[in-house]
């Protein structure tokens, strides 16, 4: 790289190669740029809606997606993937809605999170101990969870309880015209995830396993323990996201969050997490979730039919991912 050899001058970042190097070192910058462009585009297409309140609505919609994308980021760091997050999130939201009437909210939440953790434990043991490919392991578990949730639905069909008011306030309310209440839950969660990834040994191990599993095993890392803990964390996060989804939509159904599964993978990838492991961070993923939310809001404000929206959504994911890959690799 000629840039690295050149004497450090003030104009170092002004060359094309310099900008590339900057983007490569700080991939968050092009992402923020893209987000800004998208916001401008949505203002140009339909003047008016961009305001503090609009921002609040966008963030409110992006928060649960960002949590699910966090599950994908962490599992992708180890070259895995968690395809059960959609089923787990729907299940936990549904479980709370059906249990809250009899047991009260705290117990219902605990049960939902415990069940989520069990699912994550099975995923982790399958992927870590039995070396089943995470794609297959979590796909199989999502079938299991969906089926059991359906059975539970049939058993509980008489008890007419619904989404608890607390969840609705948490998931759907916007304070002061622009601050979604869900941030109370999300900001600490995001800080914990970032702390976990950047400042703890556990986070280092995730990167190490994804980068070179053999090398990390030879250096003494017990990858099965790390993976088991990882998938439990992922499933519990998905369970929490399920609370927000049920609150946001005021619906408790066993397939509620299934449609968020593929966007959660896309958000992590757009955010710069490598699906082959070892590279990525959560801040990029959060921006990725926001970008996807803004894109789908632009598409729905254009008033196109569902079919065209889907096509444009897919095309934009390819385009953004391609542009991002081109910018950040040489």
């Amino acid at each position: 790289m000629s840039v690295a050899e050149a004497p450090a001058t003030r104009s170092r970042w002004l060359t094309a190669a310099g900008i590339r190097a900057l983007f490569r070192e700080r991939p968050i910058i092009p992402l923020l740029g893209l987000l800004a462009i998208l916001i401008v585009v949505s203002e140009v297409i339909r003047p008016g809606p961009v305001s503090l309140n609009w921002a609040g609505v966008m963030i409110r919609a992006a928060v649960p997606l960002a949590i699910l994308a966090g599950c994908q980021t962490m599992t992708m760091l180890t070259a895995g993937i968690d395809l059960s997050v959609g089923a787990v999130a729907s299940m936990s939201g549904f479980l709370v809605a059906t249990l809250v009437g009899d047991l009260g909210l705290p117990v219902a939440i605990l049960i939902a999170l415990a069940v989520s953790a069990v699912v994550g434990f099975v995923n982790g043991v399958g992927a870590g101990v039995f070396r089943v490919h995470p794609l297959i392991m979590t796909l199989g578990m999502s079938l299991v969870v969906l089926g059991l949730a359906n059975v539970w639905q049939l058993l509980r069909v008489q008890t007419g309880s619904g989404v608890p008011t607390e969840f609705r306030q948490l998931g759907a309310n916007i304070e002061f015209g622009f601050l979604p209440v869900s941030l109370i839950l999300f900001v600490p969660l995001a800080l914990i995830i970032m702390f976990l990834l950047n400042r703890t040994g556990f986070g280092r191990l995730l990167y190490a396993i994804g980068d070179n599993e053999v090398a990390s095993r030879l250096s003494g890392a017990k990858s099965w323990q790390v993976l088991t803990v990882l998938y439990v964390i992922s499933a519990v996060l998905a369970g929490i996201a399920g609370f927000l989804y049920s609150g946001l939509t005021n619906v408790a159904s066993v397939t509620l969050a299934n449609s968020a599964l593929l966007p959660s993978v896309a958000a992590a990838v757009i955010g710069g997490t490598s699906i082959f492991g070892g590279r990525g961070n959560y801040s990029g993923t959060m921006i990725g979730a926001l970008i996807l939310t803004v894109i789908s809001s632009i598409l729905s404000s254009l008033g196109y039919p569902e079919a065209v929206r889907q096509i444009l959504f897919g095309a934009m994911i390819v385009f953004v991912a391609a542009a991002y890959t081109r910018i950040t690799t040489d």
Binding site: V144, G147, V308, A321, T325
Partner: protein, 334 residues
């Protein structure tokens, strides 16, 4: 993948050794066939009246899923994965159903050929995007899932259209004897005509080579990009056939993709194809699809709740793969 295997033994010993080699190479598929036989016996015990009608129904329900599994195999062998198979099936199904509705029987021949070409084109788009954008396969095909599903909705908003008589007749009823369903014959003929020549050709070998080690394949003079695009084109072609078979068996086109993509991934893994690419063939996944469908039939006979049947399917998927990897680990240790 050496085709010659020389052992310094006598002719009789050699044929035994070759046989042992064939068995060892196809141990997974043979094991699956064993499970299938066992399952058929169990089915006969549970439901003594299970006969030609049941087998024909099974073959019809297996056909689209088996073709989807073959499509997925083509992508996975070259170390890719195609998450857009279900959407491509929906798109090709609605295109064929709209074009064939209220048209002459001979026009349908042109439609079938056109839809197969469409499948090749869809696959080529997937493959070209994977190769030229350098974005991971799983992400590109995930995005294309939305694109093709949206296109299917554009073509036909609600289920409708029709199928030509002869196309439906190809999949329904028995052939020769009442025990041989036409759908099964159609499946074997299609796969035999397309897959076996490719498997034996230069392209087939490069497919496996790229799947087992892209760098080594590149250094041996295999064009990795061309092979990748070719594998996705094959996946598109088989998806188009799966879509046509959907139209043929149901008589209409449905724009909403079924659960075929994820089931095809499951069938591929159950069928002994490694997700890391380079090992396996198309017949393992086909047997896996038959097992999964027969299992579902058995559970209906036993009056198992359909939701519990989903649970069992998931458990079997995970369980079989676990056992498989345990066996592999054992083998590596000894």
């Amino acid at each position: 993948m050496s085709t010659t295997f020389d052992t310094p033994t006598k002719t009789t010993g050699r044929s035994v050794a070759t046989l042992a080699l064939i068995v060892r190479r196809n141990i997974w598929t043979l094991g699956l066939i064993g499970i299938l036989v066992l399952l058929v016996v169990v089915t006969k015990i549970i439901q003594p009246s299970y006969g030609p009608a049941g087998i024909q129904g099974l073959a019809i329900s297996v056909l689209p899923l088996a073709l989807a599994a073959v499509a997925q195999t083509c992508a996975v062998l070259a170390r890719g994965i195609d998450l857009s198979i279900g959407s491509m099936m929906a798109l090709t199904s609605v295109v064929s159903a709209t074009l064939m509705a209220d048209r002459s029987e001979s026009f349908a021949i042109i439609v079938v050929i056109g839809v197969l070409v469409l499948g090749l084109i869809l696959g080529a788009v997937n493959g070209a995007l994977v190769v030229f954008t350098r974005v991971p396969d799983i992400v590109v095909t995930l995005a294309m899932l939305f694109v093709w599903a949206g296109a299917a909705l554009l073509v036909l908003n609600t289920p409708g259209g029709g199928s030509a008589q002869w196309l439906s007749a190809l999949t329904r009823g028995p052939l020769f004897s009442q025990w041989v369903p036409r759908a099964a014959v159609a499946l074997l003929v299609i796969v035999g005509i397309i897959w076996i020549p490719i498997r034996r050709s230069r392209l087939g070998i490069s497919l496996y080579a790229v799947g087992s080690d892209p760098l080594a394949a590149f250094r041996s003079g295999v064009s990795v990009s061309r092979t990748k695009i070719f594998s996705y084109m094959l996946a598109g072609l088989f998806s188009a056939m799966a879509g046509l078979s959907l139209t043929a068996t149901t008589g209409i086109g449905t724009p909403v993709p079924g659960p075929y993509t994820l089931m095809s991934v499951a069938a591929v893994v159950l069928g002994g194809v490694s997700l890391a690419g380079g090992t396996g063939g198309v017949f393992g996944p086909i047997v896996a699809v038959v097992i999964l469908s027969l299992l579902r039939t058995d559970m209906t006979f036993l009056n198992v709740d359909t939701n519990l049947a989903t649970v069992v399917q998931g458990l079997i998927l995970v369980g079989v793969v676990m056992v498989g990897s345990l066996i592999q680990m054992r083998r590596r240790e000894t």
